[in-house]
């Protein structure tokens, strides 16, 4: 990852969402992007130029544009039409983002499009986040990484965030993933946790 002092940046064409520029690089704000917050609050995963990424819950393409600055290609899945309009505008300026308008819970609908990826990033506001990750693991290479941004409040408001967190981790482990890192994203994002896992080699 590229740091200028204690500011996380990415190299690419600016002006995507009026982001601040620093020495010709785009500032990646941890308060806006949960992935950026993970690099501030924890370790995360080093994004490298050869990487292929499947990004579930791409929304307006803000974080996607930063990821695309670092990696080879991002397959960006988003279901809602309104944010998709914005994401398409980002795609027209960046050749390495493939926009896919589909439901991340139904990977069979976009399977013919997505290559084997090194990183599976998931940030969807759904109650069954762990299940969605597991269904999409078919795209992930062995030894590849999963980053799951858990919105505990979207899973069940009646449960304590910590309880939701442990339930999710249990279902990931029982599906055979190796949990590598658990980080709460405070103070950047309240009640959000990042879970980093590895899909084991065969």
């Amino acid at each position: 990852m590229i740091w200028i002092g204690d500011v996380l940046v990415s190299q690419g064409e600016g002006g995507v969402y009026n982001e601040r520029m620093l020495g010709g690089a785009r500032v990646w704000d941890p308060y806006r992007s949960k992935l950026s917050a993970l690099y501030f609050a924890g370790t995360g995963v080093e994004l490298t130029p050869g990487m292929r990424v499947l990004y579930l819950g791409a929304a307006n393409g803000t974080t996607v544009s930063h990821v695309a600055d670092y990696v080879d290609v991002v397959y960006a899945v988003e279901f809602a039409p309104r944010p998709m309009q914005d994401l398409l505008e980002v795609c027209r300026r960046r050749r390495n983002i493939i926009p896919i308008m589909a439901d991340a819970a139904r990977p069979e609908q976009y399977a013919p499009l997505v290559e084997a990826v090194d990183l599976l990033y998931q940030d969807v506001a759904q109650p069954d986040q762990a299940a969605i990750v597991l269904r999409n693991c078919a795209f992930l290479k062995h030894g590849g990484t999963v980053i799951l941004m858990l919105k505990t409040r979207s899973v069940d408001v009646r449960k304590e965030p910590a309880e939701v967190f442990h339930d999710t981790i249990d279902s990931l482990i029982s599906a055979g993933l190796i949990v590598k890192e658990l980080t709460w994203l405070s103070p950047f994002h309240a009640d959000h946790a990042a879970i980093v896992c590895i899909k084991p080699e065969v």
């Binding site: 290609v73 039409p81 998709m84 309009q85 398409l88 795609c91 027209r92 050749r95 390495n96 983002i97 493939i98 926009p99 896919i100 308008m101 990977p107 069979e108 976009y110 399977a111 013919p112 499009l113 997505v114 290559e115 084997a116 990826v117 269904r135 078919a138 795209f139 408001v157 009646r158």
Partner: protein
Amino acid sequence: MQSYWFGDVEDGRCTLFTGDSHAIIDRIQSIVTSMDTFVPPDWEHAVLCGACRDRGEYLARLQAACIEAAERLIREHYSRKDAELLQMVRTLDEIDTVINLLSEKAAEWYLIRHPAFSRKYRRTPAHALVKTMRERSKGALGKVAGEIEQLANTRTILAKEVSARANDVMPNTSALIGGLVAARLMSHAGGLLPLSRLPASAIQVLGARTALFAHLKTRSPCPKHGIIFQHRRVHNSPREVRGKVSRVLAGKLAIAARLDFFRGVAEPDFLEMAQRRIDATVKRSKL
């Protein structure tokens, strides 16, 4: 055999799919993949069958097709009848908020200029007060009051349009509860499809989110009604039976929303039975 957007691959051999971007989009939507035996596509296979020369071209072609597919889906989504109604009713409710906020501020300002004026013991409706402010105030305050009146006119026109559109888009729901309230229910659910998928109990408390979550988290009583309170048969009922009336009404609304989504035309038989059932609940409660 594995089917990908560029062609079919079997035993390392690839059959190219020929067709323009339209055909590719249709192909993507028609392919049925089983995730159990799925092998992700490989750009080298695409080169092998002649879909592209290198990885750069592979991604460029894939991106072009995906952008076009997404544009098509967005167009389809926005051409659905409920898409515009959704924005219309949300704008309407926002205009109401703006009118209230502005009138309040203008009234405070007016009080400074006319210290003897008070709204206590007067039955002046808000719009009459705005009219007085416009006529008796010079400069910017008069202009602000004028703008509020203009906005109120726009609101009236928009409300009529929302009502008419709701009668067309959701005839059954509108017949039971009125076009405006029906449109508001739809707006809170996020569209006609999501509304038709909601259980009656959710429709009953749609719009009472704060009270509902307070109930789920603490021991406060659960809300009896949300938006459907705006319907006369709910708010005109005696307090102790409002819950009963709103429950019956919500039950019929859930059916009506499904009729609206799947059939799209008014069902007189259903409507008559439903109206009778709701009226019976109201009447029985009055005995």
